[in-house]
């Protein structure tokens, strides 16, 4: 008789919501026996049992006992938890249960688009996922890296994979932050077939790392016959990364932006991170300059105090003044504050309109000189004004979506 193997996945404690705990034991005979304790038993009891059995079948499991303690997990979560438990019990299983449809909620990735806000959602906290996009971040990041403990990496990977296949993230850019190294390669294999728009690459230190990752992504894209669309967003989080920022930004046409991560950066240079941020001023300026030189966006780090809205606003105004195009968020309430700070002021818009009008008049009259009242306007001033109006147009389009 073969050894019985038992494994557990998911969570079940008094605070658990919209999640479940699955205990899986492989057996030699007796078919698939499912025992369910669920707060939604009367509503979805049969549906839960059917899904658990379907996942077992898809993974080639013929005989097993499963116990599900459910606190209202949505089907994409339940399926991920069952699959994780099975794969923890038997690491040789490579088959997968794929709910939903990767095409349904994906759109063509756009290299240029507003990225004022990128909201990080922990990859192993499925309860936050269905509603995250309703808070309208420009980019929504399902995070497999720092927000997931090492022993839950496998679980989060399947939750994120299933989320990308089943949840409509609206017009938010769909992004995944993968892990470093071989874990990151496994992450790519799970998520690239689900057509995310962007892969965030943590702790990027040089152009080779970008090129290696692009090669890995292409391998997965080729295997699944997907268009070569997935964009890359390297995060600079070390002194070396800052030094190599321009090479990183220009290593591949897939790079759409550079982000800076200040918790790791300040640790790397051996200083405390302060709210004022003097210690990272050089790094932030270097990243902005490298990104702009390479023709990509520059995105600032997150503001970690979710209760300090005034601090966040002031910090975002500073980010904007330094040349950043966006800022990270760790809580949805930060989103409107950042969007508001990035919005050009009425005064800026008014002035930009007058400059662009004056430039139009000058062009039509064939005059090479643009003037506003008694003042001569230089070409870069016209370009900046055009950029302000372009941002207003983009942001308004984002706000107008419903």
């Amino acid at each position: 008789m073969k050894q019985q193997r038992t494994a557990v996945a998911g969570r079940m404690d008094p605070d658990t919501r919209s999640d479940c705990r699955v205990e899986f034991t492989r057996l030699d005979r007796g078919g698939i026996v499912v025992k369910v304790e669920s707060k939604v038993e009367s509503l979805y009891g049969e549906s839960i049992r059917t899904l658990v059995t379907d996942v077992c079948r898809a993974l080639g499991v013929q005989h097993a006992a499963l116990r599900v303690d459910d606190q209202g997990a949505l089907p994409f979560v339940l399926a991920a938890r069952v699959e994780t438990a099975i794969k923890r019990a038997d690491r040789t299983i490579t088959a997968a249960y794929l709910p939903g449809d990767p095409q349904k909620h994906s759109s063509q990735a756009a290299r240029v688009r507003p990225r004022r806000t990128r909201l990080y959602v922990p990859g192993n906290e499925p309860k936050f996922m269905p509603n995250a996009a309703l808070h309208r971040p420009d980019t929504l990041i399902l995070d497999l890296e720092d927000s997931v403990s090492p022993e839950e990496k496998d679980a989060a990977r399947l939750v994120v994979r299933n989320a990308l296949r089943t949840i409509d993230f609206g017009r938010a850019e769909r992004a995944v932050r993968i892990n470093q190294g071989t874990r990151g390669v496994e992450d790519l294999r799970a998520v690239i077939p689900q057509r995310p728009d962007v892969i965030l690459m943590p702790k990027c230190e040089d152009a080779d790392a970008v090129r290696t990752l692009v090669t890995e992504i292409m391998a997965v894209e080729r295997k699944h016959q997907l268009p070569a669309e997935t964009l890359l967003l390297p995060i600079i989080e070390s002194a070396l990364g800052v030094e190599n920022a321009f090479a990183i930004a220009s290593a591949s046409p897939r790079v759409c932006a550079l982000a800076i991560g200040l918790e790791d950066y300040t640790a790397d240079i051996g200083v405390e991170r302060t709210a004022e941020g003097k210690e990272s001023l050089y790094a932030r300026l270097a990243v902005v300059n490298a990104a702009k030189a390479a023709g990509v966006q520059a995105l600032d780090s997150v503001w970690s105090d979710v209760d300090d809205m005034e601090g966040l606003h002031a910090s975002t105004i500073e980010s904007k003044a330094l040349g950043f195009d966006g800022k990270g968020c760790i809580h949805p309430r930060q989103i409107p504050v950042i969007h508001h700070a990035f919005q050009p002021t009425e005064k800026e818009i008014e002035r930009a309109k007058r400059i662009v009008e004056a430039a139009d008049i000058a062009r039509k009259s064939g005059s090479g000189v643009v003037s506003l009242g008694s003042k001569m306007i230089d070409a870069p001033v016209v370009r900046r004004a055009e950029r302000v109006l372009e941002l207003v147009r983009q942001y308004t389009e984002e706000e107008g979506r419903a």
Binding site: R17, S18, K39, V40, E41, S42, L43, Y44, G45, E46, S47, L51, Q71, G72, A73, L74, P75, P130, N131, L134, H135, T166, I167, D168, H331, P332, R333, E399, G400, A402
Partner: protein, 526 residues
């Protein structure tokens, strides 16, 4: 109306019992209610010769007061939920009833709370025959599982007043918890260690009950002022060491939701109030003390300040946030039925613009008008809503009775009724094909605001056109429902209930029967 056994189908298409606890009932016929006939109930004429001329109506203890009130088997005893989840008096009361060897009591509370779980043994042993009032937590489970001896009767605050006034419910003994009282029986809720705010819910009971017992832990020399309850209506005054746990009677501070999704709902409601033009100088609104409602008040306040708009009145339950509106000059008055936190109690005690109301002034449908229909905007919750905007507030989708109606039904008569609800809870869709229990007819529900968008009742073309072009995510209930069912994995099964075994009925504001709550388990609903 076709009879079906002991049930009859009402105008809302719901089967309701013909007889409830031995009394013939009328089925729901019209949202506007059927025309009442006859006169209101009266009470026995009393004489000063039977009461002490020195005004001292104190008796030794509750048992003595009950005995002298003529307590007998099968009587109706009423209590009130002013002490909320801190109430210790109701447990004392039923211990006394039990010790007097009395059984079969109809308990007629204005609401019950989780702390009343300790009454379950009295229900089991038959001291309490059945409850007519809200049934939450353990009492809700007890009733839903068919263990209560009689049928539960769920009424709104207004309908509770109506049933007493119209003589449908005759209260034998009213027991009124008074945070402050004198020996004559004058009482208020704003002073004393158990201060709770207004005592308006006890008004009907004081006026119509045969016997009225005031129980206080803060006996003051005559006169107890202000007198929210007049001593002239009171038979006995009992002093007890404590009415309850002050920290659970009012919270130190009421807490705004931190859930980003509920914050988003609150934001949408506030934006809707502004975009629809409801938020204009002199307007009025009512929102509850739930986290979403509090967040809504804060977000509306920002908009009122930005636009320089001041309300004429706001309706309580009061909280620190409503008190701030009053103190910052953003409303002329608070008309308050209950105070949820210390700031609410303090304001009612010290600010003449913060006024006590009662179910009579606010909600009673059998009167010469009430305040509810004059409110411009009311923001409520619900457990379920169907595609015709019919809503449920008493049962969950699994059939269990878990909430009371409160003032919810009465508030539906406002000029704009908004349900601010999540589109799903965990894996429980909130927008359903058929509500488990009908509590509010859809024609009175104007807007449903969820985190996924705002649905405006097609009957309210005026509101629809007012918010057009506002940038608000206006959607149909169907489209929100479909999106949620997609996430939840299809339509849920209907609750498993025994349709032959009613456990409670839901009244409409005119006293007719709107729907039935069934025993959970057993045969499936067809």
């Amino acid at each position: 109306m076709k009879p079906s056994g002991s049930f009859v189908k009402n105008a809302a298409g719901r089967l309701v019992p013909r007889i409830v606890n031995g009394m013939a009932m009328r089925p729901f016929a019209l949202v506007e209610g059927i025309a009442p006939k006859g006169t209101t109930a009266g009470t026995l004429i009393r004489s000063c010769r039977d009461y002490p001329s020195d005004g001292n109506k104190s008796v030794r203890d509750l048992k003595e007061a009950l005995r002298r009130s003529g307590l007998r088997n099968g009587m109706t005893i009423s209590t009130h939920h002013h002490l909320r989840n801190g109430d210790a008096l109701t447990a004392l009361l039923f211990r006394a009833v039990k010790e007097l060897g009395v059984k079969g009591i109809r308990w007629f509370p204005s609401a019950s709370f989780p702390c009343h779980e300790e009454l379950v043994p009295y229900l089991s042993s038959g001291v309490i025959h059945h409850i007519e009032g809200s049934m939450n937590g353990a009492l809700g489970r007890f009733c839903s599982e068919g263990k209560m001896k009689g049928l539960g009767v769920l009424r709104s605050h207004g309908t509770r007043y109506q049933s007493v006034q119209d003589g449908e419910v005759h209260i034998d003994i009213a027991v009124i918890a008074a945070p402050s009282a004198d020996a004559f029986g004058n009482a208020n809720g704003v002073e004393g260690p158990s201060a709770c705010g207004p005592l308006g819910f006890a008004l009907a009971d004081a006026e119509y009950a045969d016997r009225v017992i005031v129980v206080t832990d803060n006996l003051v020399p005559f006169p107890c002022i202000p007198w929210a309850i007049q001593g002239n209506l009171v038979d006995f005054v009992v002093r007890v060491p404590s009415l309850g746990d002050a920290s659970k009677i009012v919270s130190g501070t009421t807490v705004v939701t931190r859930s980003p999704d509920r914050q988003l709902i609150a934001e949408y409601v506030a934006r809707f109030a502004e975009a629809s033009g409801i938020m204009q100088p002199g307007f009025s609104f009512q929102a509850g003390a739930g986290g979403t409602s509090l967040a809504f008040v804060l977000k509306l306040k920002e908009r009122m300040k930005a636009r320089g708009v001041k309300a004429r009145f706001v309706r309580g339950g009061s909280t620190q946030y409503l008190v701030q509106l009053l103190e910052e000059g953003l409303t002329d008055s608070i008309l308050d039925g209950q105070a949820f936190d210390e700031a609410g109690v303090r304001s009612m005690r010290s600010d003449p613009r913060h006024v006590q109301t009662s179910p009579f002034t606010s909600y009673n449908y059998h009167g010469k008008g009430n305040f509810a229909s004059m409110v411009d905007l009311v923001v409520l919750g619900a457990t379920e809503v169907d595609l015709d905007f019919n809503a449920n507030v008493v049962t969950h989708s699994d059939g269990y009775l878990l909430h009371g109606i409160g003032g919810w039904q009465d508030c539906l008569f406002s000029k704009c009724t908004v349900l601010a609800i999540p589109s799903f809870r965990d894996r429980i869709p909130v927008i359903v094909d058929r509500v488990t229990t009908l509590c509010g007819p859809g024609s009175l529900i104007d807007v449903v605001v969820t985190e996924r968008g705002i649905a405006v009742n097609p009957l309210r073309k005026d509101l629809l056109s007012a918010v057009k072009g506002s940038g608000l995510p206006i959607r149909t209930l169907e489209s929100i429902r479909d999106e949620v069912l997609d996430l939840c994995g299809g339509k849920p099964n209907p609750p498993v209930v025994d349709v032959k075994k009613p456990v409670a009925v839901v009244k409409w504001v005119d006293g007719t029967l709107l729907d039935t709550v069934y025993r959970v388990g057993g045969k499936k609903r067809e």
